[in-house]
């Protein structure tokens, strides 16, 4: 699964640390999600999308 988290972070000038602190997770978790090495739960995906003022569909690209 690919994500556009990095692109949205850059839009709002947020570091991984900033985003992690905003949604209450560890920086490594954001790093793993950005790299596609960890699939977040629905709640976490929603929290990330909300923090980046977008939707889950815009943020996460599901590959068949």
């Amino acid at each position: 699964m690919k994500t556009r988290i990095k692109e949205f972070r850059a839009r709002y000038n947020l570091t991984q640390e900033d985003l992690a602190r905003k949604i209450g997770v560890r920086r490594e978790t954001i790093l793993f999600i950005e790299k596609g090495n960890y699939n977040p739960s629905l709640k976490l995906a929603h929290d990330i999308a909300k923090a980046l003022q977008t939707t889950i569909d815009d943020l996460f690209i599901f590959e068949d």
Binding site: G24, V25, R26, F32
Partner: protein, 130 residues
Amino acid sequence: MKISRASYPFLFAFFLYGAVLSTIGQFSWDLRQKLFLPVIIASVILFIIGIIVAIKDKEFIHMMVDERTQKVDRSAGYCSWWVTVIFVIVAGFLADVLKFTVSQLTFLILSEMFFSIILFHMYFNFKGEF
């Protein structure tokens, strides 16, 4: 279980000094005496690395737990438990054949338990999706 990457050097330092040295001491006091100083030096170095990483990660006072770390904790505990069960069976058999004392067997099992939980925690922490 609040373990992060900053905890690993501390845990290895404790493992080296507390578990390895003690276990070796159960089997050979001479070897323990020889290894005492190198183990102390290695433990101190690991301790210092742990402090540096903890300060760098800003986890010296508060360690954050999230869904991924909870998943890592659960998976590491589960795998470590099964490996320990197998180890106890094998060690029990070897203890019978090689005539280990109760304290030798106990220290071996305790060392394995500690070592396996750290290893599996590191594995799942750095692995990513599992």
